[in-house]
Symmetry: C2
Subunit: 539 residues, 2 copies
C-alpha cells in the first residue's frame, strides 16, 4: 500500500460517493426486484402449503430438477481464482470446497480473502469522485502559495471558528489531564482501561452541550448516551442493533453518501432511497415513505427503520414539527424504528427553528419512545472531526445495552475524552463559541449563496449545515446523469473546484450540487465565483 | 441504564468471560453438528444431482411436503413477543411477516431490536465472572484506605511503569500538539479529518517501537500498518476481511476470552477451540490443529484462519521457531490464514527468545506471505490501554486495503495520535522505558510465582505476559468445572481476590487459574499469599 495514496484518500465519513455517477444500484435493484417478486411471492405461498400439498410438492420438485441440471452443467467449469471467491461462496459450501480442493496442489496460491472483503474492495472501484479528493490533496489551493490550486467544496468540515478552538487549546489543554484533588497528573484516568462506551463525565458534558445547542428546547439525559468513535460508527452500531443482515432502512434522498457504507459494509443493512423532489424543496412526505416501504416489502426486504438527517445533508433544510410527528406515527404503524441524524443541530444559521426528535417525544406521551434513536457528534457543531467523537442517544434500554457492548470496537481514547471534558465544561468558552460560530456560519452562507445568485444559480432555501444545495442544471449539456458528471468533471479539471454532485447523494434529478463553504475565507468566495463564471459562460 | 453499573463493568477487552463456567457451547455444538452432518452431507450430494435426477428430485419433494405440514400446523400458534424475534427471522421473512402483522394492531408494542442484538444481549447473561469485576470496582483494595477490599488479579493491565509514563506526560505532553515549523498549535493536524487508518507519522513511530521491542530481530514496514481503536477492533476487522459469516477460526485453547466476542459479535466468525494440555505445557501441536480442522469440516464449518497469541494469553509461554514454521506449512496446505496476536511481544521477562511471525517470514522466502497477519497494540507493551491504539500488520495488500476502509468505524482520535507520535519518537524515553519495564516485570513475576510456590502452587514455565497460569486443582473439592467454579467463588467471597478461572479461557482441564500481577506493588504480594493460604488451608 502506498502511504502517499493513503494520505490523499478522503476522510472516513466525508467521501463524496461510493457509487459511480452512472450507476444507481439500489434503484436498479428495486426495479428488477419488483418483477422477480411477482414470481416469488405466489411461489412462497405455494411452498407454505397454501396451494395444496400436492401442488406445493410438485413445484419445488421441478425447481430442484432444473437446479441439478444447472449444477451438473457447471461442475466441469474451471475453478475460480482463489483471490476472488464467488459471491455465493457462503451459500454453497459443499460445492466451493470441491472447487478449491483443485487449487490446493499449488502451495503458492494467494490466500483468499472473504467474499464480503471482495465486495467492500470493489465498492470504491466505481467511485469516480475520489479523484476530486485526490486532486485537492495533491494540488491544494492557497491564495498566496498556490493560487491556481484546486479548491475543496466537497468536504463538510468547518474551519470558520478554528481560531477559537486554537485559542482554547493554547491556554487550557495542558490542564485537562491534571487532577486537582490529586494535585498531579491523572494517570489512572488516562492510561488505564476505561468503560468502552465513554466516561460518564464526558456524557454529562456532551448532554449539556447538546441542550445548549438546541437552545434549551429539550434537555438530554447523559445515561441515554453511548459514545462512539464518530457518528460513522454510531450509525454502524445502530444498524447492528436494529436490523439483521439483508434488512433495509428507508432513507429520504438525496442523502449523505456515507450512509450506504455505514449501514451496509459490516452490518449488511440496505439503504432504501425515498426519492424527494425539488418541487417539495427536497423534503420527504409520509406518502413517499409509504411507497418505498411497500416496494421494499414486495421485494421481500424487511424494513426496520427510517434514517434521516435533520438539518438535512446535503440539502440543508430543517424538518417541520408536523412532519416529525407524522413520521413517528408512520413508524408506530409499521412497527419500525426512527433514526434522527442531528449532527448539524447546532450549525443552523436561518431564522427557522431546529426541532430535535427528542423535543417531539417530550411534547407527546403517546409515542413509544423505545423506537427513537438520535445520532450526534462533535465533528460538526464543535468543529473537531479529528477528535472522532460521536454518539447514539437512544430511548430504548435494550439498544443502549447492546450498543454499549459493541463500543468495544469503537472506543474513544481517554486523553481525548479528558480534553473534551475540559473544553465542554468551560462554559464561558462554549457559550462564546456557539454564538460566534453561528454568526460566522450565517455570514458565510449569505456571502456564498449571494455569489451563486449573481451567476444565476439558485439554492434551496436552507437553515443549517456547512453547504448549500444548488441547481446548476441549466449549465449541463444534457439533462441527465451523464450531463451532471461532465459538468462535475469540467468544474474539477477546468475551474479546479471539487464539489459533490447530486448523483453521489442519490438525487433523482440531475444537475444539483452540494457546495461546502465552511473551509473558505471571505476572500476565497470571489475567486470561486470567477472560476465558476469562466466555465458557465463557455456553456 | 444506570451510570454506576456502567462504570463498574469490566473494560472492553479484558472481561473474564462471556460463557458461563458450566457451559462449553462450541464443543457441544461440534458434537451435535457432527451427527447432523452425517445426514446432511449425503443429502447435499443427492441435491447436486449425484444420486441421479429422479432421486434428486424425489427427496427434496418429500422434504418440502413435510415442511408444509409443519408450517400448516404452526400457522395458528401465537405470535412471538416482538421484543425477542425468533432466531431464524431472517431466513423465513414471509412467514415472520405474517406473524408480526398480527401484533401491528397494538400501536404501543415495544419496538423490536434485531435478532443479532438479542443474541449479543444474551451473551453476558451467563457471564458469572462479571461479578468479580463488579466487586473489585465496588470495594477496591487499598493497603491503607481499604485493607479488606477486593484485590484484582483478573485484569491484564500493567501499572509497574506508570511512574515513567507519568513523568513523560508531565514534562512533554504539552508540546505534542505544537508544530515547530509553524511556531504554533497544529490545529489542522488535530481538529480536521485525518486518514481513518491512522497518521503515517504514527505508523512510522510504532513500526520503530515494534522493532525495538523485538530487539531488532526484524524490522516492520509502516505501510503495512493499519491503525485501529485497540487490538479488539483489529481482530474484528480481520474477521471481516478473512472470513464470511458462519466461517470459523481455529484457536488453541486456553485462549483469551475476548476472542469469542471479537470474532463473533459483528463478523459472525466462530471460534473453534483447539484443546491444549498441561502435559504439553499448553502448547498446541499441528496434529491438534489438524484434528480440529477435520472436525470443523465435518460439521460443515469452513475454517479460514488460525488465530493464536504469542506470548500466549493466558498461559504466558512463547512459541518455538519450529512450531511457527510448521504452522505456516499447515496454513499453506489448508489454504487458510494465520493471525498472530503479538500484543505482549515486548512484555517478556524470561531468558527465552520471543520470535515474531514477521521474523519467520523474513527467514524463509518459500512461504506465501499474503496469508500472514499480525495483531499489535500499545495497550500492553506501552501500558496505555486507555489510549485505544491497536493495529493490523498484514502482508496481504488486499487485506490492507479493505481493513483501511473498515477503520472508518474504528479510528483513533488525532490528539491521541499526536501525543503518541511525540512519546514514541522520544527515543531516550522509549529505550529507558522498555529496559526498566522489562526488569520490573521480571522481578514481579519472580516474586509472585515464588509466593505461589511456597503455597504449593505450580505455574507453567512462562516467558511473557502480565500473568501466570497456575494449577490450583489440588484445592478443588471435586475435579470438575463445578469444583473450579466453587473455588473461584470462594477466592472472591472469602479471600476477596478476583482471578480468571481456566474455564473462562476454554481450558479443558479444570483447576487452572490466570493470576495477573502487574497492577500490584511488591507489598501487595504477601497480603495476597496470606489470603490464599487462609482458604487453601481450610480445604
Amino acid at each position: 500500500m502506498n502511504p502517499e495514496a493513503e494520505a490523499k484518500a478522503p476522510p472516513a465519513d466525508e467521501e463524496a460517493t461510493s457509487a459511480g455517477p452512472l450507476a444507481f444500484p439500489p434503484v436498479a435493484a428495486r426495479g428488477g426486484g419488483a418483477a422477480a417478486m411477482r414470481l416469488i411471492v405466489p411461489l412462497q405461498g405455494i411452498v407454505q402449503g397454501r396451494g395444496g400439498l400436492v401442488l406445493g410438492s410438485l413445484i419445488p420438485c421441478a425447481l430442484f430438477y432444473f437446479l441439478q441440471i444447472y449444477l451438473k452443467r457447471n461442475r466441469s467449469s474451471p475453478s475460480p481464482s482463489s483471490s476472488s471467491p464467488p459471491a455465493d461462496e457462503g451459500e454453497l459450501p459443499g460445492i466451493v470446497r470441491t472447487l478449491s480442493r483443485a487449487s490446493l496442489g499449488s502451495a503458492r496460491s494467494p490466500a483468499a480473502v472473504s467474499s464480503r472483503a471482495v465486495s467492500i474492495a470493489k465498492s470504491s472501484d466505481s467511485a469516480a469522485y475520489f479523484v476530486g479528493y485526490k486532486k485537492c490533496s495533491e494540488d491544494p489551493y492557497h491564495p498566496l502559495d498556490n493560487p491556481d490550486g484546486v479548491i475543496q467544496l466537497g468536504l463538510a468540515e468547518n474551519h470558520l471558528s478554528f481560531d477559537l478552538i486554537e485559542g482554547w487549546f493554547a491556554t487550557n489543554s495542558k490542564n485537562s489531564w491534571f487532577d486537582e484533588r490529586q494535585g498531579g497528573l491523572n494517570i489512572n484516568g488516562l492510561a488505564t482501561y476505561q468503560p468502552s462506551d465513554g466516561l460518564m463525565e464526558l456524557k454529562m458534558a456532551i448532554a449539556g452541550f447538546m441542550g445548549q445547542v438546541v437552545q434549551g428546547s429539550v434537555s438530554f439525559n447523559p445515561s441515554r448516551i453511548i459514545l462512539t468513535a464518530g457518528a460513522t460508527s454510531a450509525i454502524e452500531i445502530l444498524s447492528f442493533c436494529l436490523g439483521d443482515h439483508g434488512n433495509g432502512f428507508l432513507v429520504p434522498s438525496p442523502y449523505y453518501p456515507g450512509y450506504d457504507r455505514n449501514t451496509k459494509w459490516t452490518a449488511g443493512i440496505e439503504v432504501i432511497p425515498v426519492p424527494c423532489r425539488s418541487t417539495d424543496n427536497f423534503s420527504f412526505s409520509i406518502a413517499a415513505l409509504e411507497r418505498a416501504y411497500d416496494q421494499a416489502k414486495k421485494r421481500g426486504v424487511k424494513v426496520r427503520a427510517v434514517l434521516f438527517s435533520n438539518p438535512s445533508n446535503p440539502v440543508g433544510n430543517l424538518l417541520q414539527r408536523k412532519l416529525l410527528h407524522d413520521l413517528l406515527d408512520f413508524a408506530t404503524e409499521k412497527n419500525i424504528h426512527v433514526i434522527a441524524d442531528e449532527v448539524f443541530a447546532g450549525s443552523t444559521y436561518g431564522n427557522e427553528e431546529f426541532v430535535s426528535m427528542a423535543e417531539i417525544l417530550n411534547s407527546d406521551d403517546e409515542f413509544d419512545r423505545s423506537r427513537v434513536h438520535i445520532i450526534y457528534s462533535l465533528s460538526k457543531d464543535l468543529s473537531v472531526p479529528g477528535f472522532r467523537t460521536g454518539l447514539i442517544y437512544s430511548f430504548n434500554d435494550q439498544v443502549l445495552s447492546v450498543a454499549s457492548k459493541l463500543t468495544r470496537f469503537s472506543s474513544i481514547s481517554a486523553p481525548t475524552q479528558r480534553l473534551l471534558i475540559s473544553m465542554l465544561t468551560d462554559s464561558d468558552f462554549i457559550t462564546r463559541y456557539i454564538k460566534v460560530n453561528r454568526s460566522r456560519l450565517r455570514a458565510m452562507h449569505a456571502l456564498f449563496v449571494d455569489g451563486l445568485k449573481q451567476l444565476g444559480i439558485k439554492c434551496v432555501k436552507s437553515g443549517g449545515g456547512f453547504y448549500c444545495w444548488a441547481d446548476v442544471s441549466q449549465f449541463m449539456k444534457s439533462y441527465s446523469e451523464k450531463g451532471e458528471f461532465e459538468l462535475w468533471k469540467e468544474m474539477l479539471d477546468l475551474a479546479k473546484i471539487n464539489a459533490t454532485p447530486g448523483t453521489a447523494c442519490h438525487c433523482i434529478e440531475p444537475g444539483w450540487f452540494r457546495f461546502c463553504f465552511t473551509t473558505l475565507t471571505e476572500k476565497d468566495v470571489p475567486v470561486i465565483m470567477e472560476r465558476f463564471k469562466r466555465i458557465f459562460d463557455s456553456r
